[in-house]
Amino acid sequence: MADTKYIGHNYTPPDLVAKVTGRARWAEDFRAEGMLFAKLLLSPMPHARVRSIDASAALAMPGVKAILTADDLPDLGPNVERALTNEPLYAGEPILAVAAVDELTAAEAVERINVDLEALPFTVDPLEALRPDGPSARTTGNVWGAPMPGGVGPNAASPLKTIRWTSDQFADAEEGRLPMGEPTEQWSYGDLDAGFKSADLVLDETFVVQSTGHHPMETRTAMAYWQNGKLYIHCSTQSVAQTVPGIARWCGIEPTQVVLISEYTGGGFGSKGGGTVTMSIPALLSKKANAPVMMRITREDESYIGRARTNMTGRTRIGFAKDGRILALDLFIVQDNGSYGPMGDHRSAGLAASIIYQPQAMRWRAISVLTNTPPRSQQRSPGPMQANGMIEPLITKAAKQLGVDQVEIRKINSPVGRAVFGPAQPNGQRQRLTSAFINEALDKGKQTFRWDERKAYSGQRRGAKVRGIGVAVGPHGSGSIGFDSLMTLRPDGKLYVQSGVGNLGTHSVMDLARVAAEVLAMPWEKVEVNWGDTGKGVPWSCLSVGSQTTHAMTRANFAGANDAKRKLQEIAAKDLGGSPDDYELSNERVHRRGNPGGGLTYAQAAKRAIELGGKYDGHEVPEDINAMTKRAAAMHAGLGLMGVAKDNYPRNGTTYSFVAGFAEVEVDVETGKVTLIDYLGVGDVGTVINPRSLLAQIKGGSCLGIAHALQQKWVFDPKYGLMVSRRFHNTRPLTILDIPASMQAEAVDLPDPETPVGARGVGEPPVGAGYGAVLNAIADAVGVEVFRRAPVTADIVLMSLENKKRMHEPLQAHV
């Protein structure tokens, strides 16, 4: 869109003053008359069966109002995680919940409940689970199989299986290389053997990508009460419209019975995608106790029930031509799926590898192993970040050995335009990207970062310090299609845009209304965005996950705003003659072309829409919109001129966004300490909608990747199956002192041709970019042989340098 007034321009989001004055209310900030508090009883064992529960002493306590156990919950089907369990699959899994007049009483009641547990076999290491005599995380199996027939998406339903690898297959493990027994899934394309045969350099490396908890600043607290048969729930979720079906299912009620309020969410990073199953606990306790219930989740609770990234151990074999071109790539992934799932990060990792490295031939094999560790969910760049970790060290090593520049070897292998990727689909065709401008991003970054200047001194030791530079491209799927939009232009002359996505601070929840303002030439100060409360009527919107919101909802609101525009034109033609196409919009009027002072004001047209009724004021709505949108439209019918539409725009290809990360590090070879000196992220994310928020996303996402490269990890006691890293001080997220003095972000701002507004999402791609770029910079400084796992902590660097070989245990998870 040329000559835009709002798209591509900064603005102050309408929620900012409420946030900065402390008036904005998150889930834990709500109160209700007679509100009780809930506390959870968590499993002390990593795998056990509840034989019996004696709650008599707790129930006898004054102030204890209700106890909820797994027996009170609806059946969600086989192998599906529920809010409470009688067979805990990880230490920390909630077994029951108590509601009492205050938290101290509830906590005291929890202490007085006697749960008789039968200990069961367990494992916290996926490779251990695959050994010939290894323990299974569940009594019914140890791995998730390939998706069931008809299953689509990264988390398609899968069967539980039991698979063990032989001792012979484990022989490689002794050498620190990932053993490769029977996978559960695989695909390939091209001639892999021919590729390796014609290669000038073949590398084969194993790399361990760690798991980390999401730990958003706001834990997954919820407060719930019932009124007139409806559940009112204040919760912390990434999505609003899309959390309703989950809450309904978990509570055993209809979606129409749920009123969900979530105006502000304190981060999620994939851990609160469509809410989280434990949010049903205060809802069901509230029903049982007949009073509102607040369930505050502590930071330690959050470390158990708050989700984590799937860790992966990958073994990658790559054949390179002399110029660095990748001829063959063979990737084997053992994914630690945790206790529930099934997770699909391993599949996303395989596709991501195929996209960003464009190997001429590729094979992907994987197995997703259950362990008795807390449940995983998608964490900001789920799969692609892991692919960056497993594969980048090989690319960097090859570049060094072949004498090819780090940026050039990535450029030569980058997808261009509508590049193909992955295996052939059922129709015989391979998937295509909608667009990719990675090389433009790499060129731009190389210049801004003064790559060649830094290259001149990288690797040179000065005293105990040695600098290194690194680059990596983080990819991620970045857009879905087919969602709805709902807005009303009212007689007060204002445009009210209903927004059904979550408010995570990325501002996409409001950015979507910028598109409507643009199409309708509406002054921004006359646009009201209604978000965060399904009681106000919100349209069916995408999940606020997977970097899809900006793409999906700019499309939907482009459709909805054009629907409103058409109705304005039709009303003007009805009243003033001519055909609708004779009319255009400007200065808050619909008027004949060339006569901006004539026609009808928006306020007049809104009034006329109400008089005309039918489709004009929302009493008739399109057939193809979602039932939730229809319900929301019914709430707004008659209030003004309604714009309501489903995104039916075509899309040819799969939408991906990319961020190229550039990093410079300084390694102290006497202490092993790695310091990030400088960082730049360059986005290839389509048309920029909100520049300031976009750059914040690139920098913030990169910081998550940087933290994964340098310091964050999960640690378990393998003997007892218990989590050690339960709090911030031992999960070690990045602090304000860990960022470089100079941190930059920019974007190439080239529109995606397969979406009307040109915008793609940005949330995830920077994570893999930051992760890969920093790992590569460390390798550039001290050599690629120093580490084979992340984070690259001082002890790893120091031990390996001292002993002139890699010293760390190469395969064990969660150390």
């Binding site: 003053v17 946030k19 402390g22 064992m45 600043m217 706001e218 981060g267 930071r299 007892y720 050690v724």
Partner: protein, 222 residues
């Protein structure tokens, strides 16, 4: 940790002898010892004082502190009923309705609950309410003067300093407190001044930019 004598919560020690060869060689005793050694016990009540009933403050024993006290919060004298083990964060949020102060970890790790006590930033999750009697407490709600934002708040709005903003209140109070004593900091000094606060959206670079602007606005207005 103290346990009530009549408690029957399923601590690891209550685990039955592993019967069906759960994990070779792990006896009940070894499990307990290992759990103690690793310090890793799954408990939901970890942040509460887990004591037996009589010192919950339900009764005022002779010599114990008064429960009904007066606090100076945001320039107002507020009468409030406070238990002896109650933290300032809890009092502010649950007794005085000041929910702008957030609880992120409840253990002095994240800084989301930072407030000013006599102009000095403190983690309110780790301050007992009884210790702030006679002192001036300022929270995020007390920063603005009517509709007139505090210069640091205005700077956050102008620079769009935060994303999800759950950490914003604590960061802001930490920055305001630091800038009172260091009105003209370098970027690095300011980063050190507010390094007791965590953000998980993590555009720390923009947070610093916003607070540097806040410092500039404060210098202009004072």
């Amino acid at each position: 940790m103290d346990q009530p004598e009549n408690s029957h919560a399923p601590r690891p020690g209550d685990a039955p002898e592993p019967s069906d060869t759960p994990r070779s060689g792990v006896t009940r005793r070894a499990f307990i010892k290992g759990v103690i050694a690793s310090g890793a016990v799954a408990t939901s009540a970890a942040y509460l004082f887990r004591t037996s009933g009589e010192i919950f403050g339900q009764t005022s024993a002779p010599g114990s502190v008064e429960r009904l006290i007066t606090l100076n919060v945001n320039g107002q004298m507020r009468r409030v009923d406070v238990m002896k083990q109650e933290t300032l964060a809890t009092t502010l949020r649950y007794k005085l309705g000041l929910t702008g102060t957030k609880i992120g970890c409840d253990r002095a790790e994240c800084g989301a609950c930072t407030v000013l006590i006599d102009d000095v930033p403190h983690y309110s999750c780790s301050v007992l309410t009884h210790t702030v009697r006679g002192r001036k407490v300022q929270t995020i709600e007390g920063l603005a003067n009517g509709d007139q934002l505090h210069p640091v708040q205005q700077a956050i709005v102008d620079e769009q300093g935060f994303q999800c903003a759950f950490c914003m209140s604590g960061f802001t109070m930490a920055a305001v407190g630091f800038l009172k004593t260091t009105p003209n900091p370098t970027r690095q000094q300011l980063a050190h001044g507010i390094s007791g606060n965590l953000c998980r959206c993590q555009d720390y670079d923009k947070i610093l930019t916003a607070f540097m602007r806040g410092a500039e606005y404060m210098r202009r207005t004072t």
